[in-house]
Amino acid sequence: MRLPRLLRGGPSVLGAAAILVVAVGMTLAPQLFTGRDPNAIVFIERLQPPSLVHPLGTDENGRDLWARVVYGARPTLTAAVALILISLAVGSLAGLVIGYAGRRADEVLMRVTEFFLAFPQIVWALAIASVIGRGLVVCVLALSLTWWAQYARLMRAQVLVYKEREFILASRALGQRAWWILLRHLLPNCFSPVLVKATIDVSLAILLLAALSFLGVGAQPPMPEWGAMVTIGRKYLLDYPWYATFPGLAIFVVVLAFNILGERVRDALDPASRIYVRS
């Protein structure tokens, strides 16, 4: 049986795919991976090292760390995916419509995106979350404020390339409506670089949101988001190092898997893509 083209590439790719399957599994059905309750507080069992009973040890309240890592996949991954989906949806739509629209609108879009791209992401998410209220939702919304602009620019660049292609001009000559042209012709053609970027961006999103949780403005305890767990674990770093190590390792492994697969997606969809052009 031949593997789909996407998965060919050796053990690393297969390993990455396996990790992602596991991660998605943990997100959708955590009960399959652990029978324990991630919120069950048992004070007598606090801060125990990894053992047969608790494979990753326990936290400061006696909660099983493996269970918390498993249940932590959901907030970690869904927030990142949501962030990219929102940015992608809003950005692509804006880039698509305005890129097709005309010179004037295009200028406006460029200036607007330039404005939104001017904000360093972590700094602004930190500021917004401090003022409005901490939490994963706020962080996702705050980050999407800058991220959508990247997709808008990417989509717009693609639209400009395709806009003057013959088959588009032909459609217009035939009197097709604008939105029909946009959806039926432009979108499918322009979408692959966006998809490539999105796949690679998910890993970046995971890292950013985990960093914000680490700094205290993202996921709030007792949510077992992996970054939030590392920041609690850092208080116990010397005598109970497993606490900070394992959730961080989980982030690393999942991000690595996304990066590996992201490369494959890129190679498969758009081998001529350059990664260093600023969108």
């Binding site: 507080i41 004070f43 606090r46 801060l47 400061e60 850092r234 208080k235 116990y236 010397l238 005598d239």
Partner: protein
């Protein structure tokens, strides 16, 4: 082309790894700090400024006696009180100089009292009773009070004396607040040489200090801000720091095994309490409050945090060294369930709101231990953690509209002992006049005229025995009213290098007298 650059980098790297760690100096004490100080001005700063500077940079007429039996003389060598309790006469110590060389005398004391009264900050709270000050001679000070007050003398420890010369020289229409924020001019053992926020405070010896400078004292104190708590601990283990001020119980086993370190576990004078709101349902009902008290699992809490129990609504030794109080509501989930049923909640089914200070491990544990028990009885708890000013604001604002939707039913709180009288706790925590809207700390909104009467009389009577009797009565009264859950007494934990000796524990984790300490050869 790239080669020389890479080569330079490698050389620099090697240089960096090879340079030895600087050696430790004998008369220098390196302390790891975590919390920030806002200002060094003893009359304009907050309470932690008083604790901190009052032990190392400034002094008052008297200070805390280590066994908490009463005040001990510092800048005053003796004092007498008039029969009606309204006049106190102090004899001042002779030959004392400020760090700028000017002599200490009664005029300086008067000036400092007036400045504290004018600025109306934390220091003012404790000298409020003073109506006027007289200086019949350079070594005598007379304080006239508006009415007798048993909190005046112990509270005087927070009236720190600043050099009048410094006050005059650096007054830029702000009573020298600008300068005194970052400089010190007191009679204490040290002078602030440098303060870089987030980095370091450096105190250097005050050459004019009246106790003198025997050979082995620390002449320089470096307080380093190390943000990462485990790094601070590592630095003590490696000798980069001599002292770490805030150690968690979980770190103790490993620290105790280290032959280079001394671990101090001291039962302190600070109470951990959870205020219960007595003015809003369901905690309005005495039975509900008693039930909540029966749900407090002291043993579990002590096991987690390494703190201890405290029987009584205040730091009980203040009522007498051998005075004991019994807990009328010991841990008993069954009793709690019964009381809740009596109050109309046989199956729980309500939600309480709990707030406490962000970032504090012990306060978090207080919440989690209680929550675990409450959840078993189907009572949900919403948790809010925030910075201290925000907590105070929330609890105070509620007092205005008393809306049940925003009420905080449980407020986790640490109450340190400020001065060595029971009135300090009894008044500020439970008296009607200590209502938060008047700036007080009575977040339970407990208001009992009988209680108020007892405390008022205790605070103003000149008869010591009657004072004690009334205080004890008041304590028992509020104890039975279950206005708060006493979660225990803090056991302060510190870790130091083994060769640093002379540490005297002053009851809290903020006051350290570095002059008392020395490095053993």
């Amino acid at each position: 082309m790239a080669l020389p650059v890479v080569a330079t980098l490698l050389v620099a790297f090697a240089l960096a790894l090879a340079s030895p760690s600087p050696a430790q100096q004998e008369n220098v004490l390196n302390v790891g700090k975590y919390t920030q100080l806002g200002s060094y001005d003893p009359h304009a700063g907050a309470l932690d400024t008083l604790w901190w500077t009052g032990n190392n940079f400034y002094e008052s007429l008297l200070d805390l006696n280590e066994d908490l039996s009463g005040p001990r003389p510092v800048l005053a060598t003796s004092w007498t009180a008039s029969k009606d309790g309204k006049t106190y006469t102090f004899k001042l110590r002779e030959g004392v100089k400020f760090s700028d060389g000017t002599p200490f005398d009664s005029a300086a004391v008067k000036l400092s009292v007036e400045r504290a009264q004018a600025l109306k900050k934390a220091a003012f709270l404790f000298i409020k009773p003073i109506a006027r000050v007289e200086t019949p001679s350079p070594s005598t000070v007379v304080c006239h009070l508006e009415q007798p007050s048993n909190t005046f003398l112990p509270g005087l420890r927070f009236l720190l004396v600043v050099s009048p010369k410094a006050l005059k020289e650096h007054d830029k229409d702000d009573q020298a607040q600008g300068w005194l924020r970052e400089h010190t001019a007191g009679t204490g053992a040290y002078v602030l040489e440098k303060w870089e926020p987030n980095i370091i405070h450096v105190g250097k010896k005050n050459p004019h200090y009246w106790r003198g400078w025997p050979a082995n004292k620390f002449t320089t104190i470096n307080l380093r801000h190390i943000y990462e708590p485990e790094t601070q601990r590592l630095m003590v283990e490696k000798g980069e720091l001599d002292w770490s001020e805030n150690v968690t119980k979980d770190a103790l086993p490993a620290l105790k095994r280290n032959p280079n370190l001394t671990v101090y576990e001291k039962l302190g004078t600070s109470l951990m309490v959870t205020y219960l709101n007595t003015n809003v349902a369901p905690t309005k009902d005495l039975r509900v409050r008693q039930a909540l008290h029966h749900l407090w699992n002291q043993e579990a809490f002590n096991a987690i945090t390494g703190n201890a129990a405290n029987e009584g609504p205040l730091f009980t030794p203040l009522l007498g060294k051998d005075w004991r109080m019994e807990n009328p509501y010991p841990y008993s989930p069954d009793k709690a369930k019964k009381l809740l049923a009596e109050a109309g909640y046989p199956d729980g089914g309500f939600t309480l709101r709990y707030q406490s200070q962000k970032g504090d491990v012990d306060k978090r544990a207080m919440f989690e231990v209680l929550q675990a028990e409450l959840n078993k009885l189907n009572i949900k708890v919403e948790f809010f953690d925030d910075t201290w000013p925000a907590l105070v604001k929330r609890a105070t604002d509620w007092g205005r509209d008393k809306s049940p939707d925003t009420a905080i039913h449980l407020f986790g709180y640490f109450r340190p002992m400020f001065i060595t009288t029971p009135h300090d706790f009894l008044f500020h925590m439970y008296h009607s006049d200590a209502n938060p809207m008047k700036g007080g700390r009575n977040f339970t909104y407990y208001s009992n005229p009988e209680y108020d009467k007892l405390v008022n009389e205790a605070m103003t009577t000149t008869d010591r025995d009657r004072d004690l009797k009334l205080s004890r009565q008041a304590a028992e009264l509020v104890w039975r009213a279950a206005a708060l859950i006493v979660n225990g007494r803090i056991v302060d934990k510190f870790v130091a290098r083994k060769d640093v000796k002379g540490f005297v524990y002053l009851g809290d984790r903020v006051s350290f007298r570095y002059y008392d300490m020395y490095r053993e050869r």
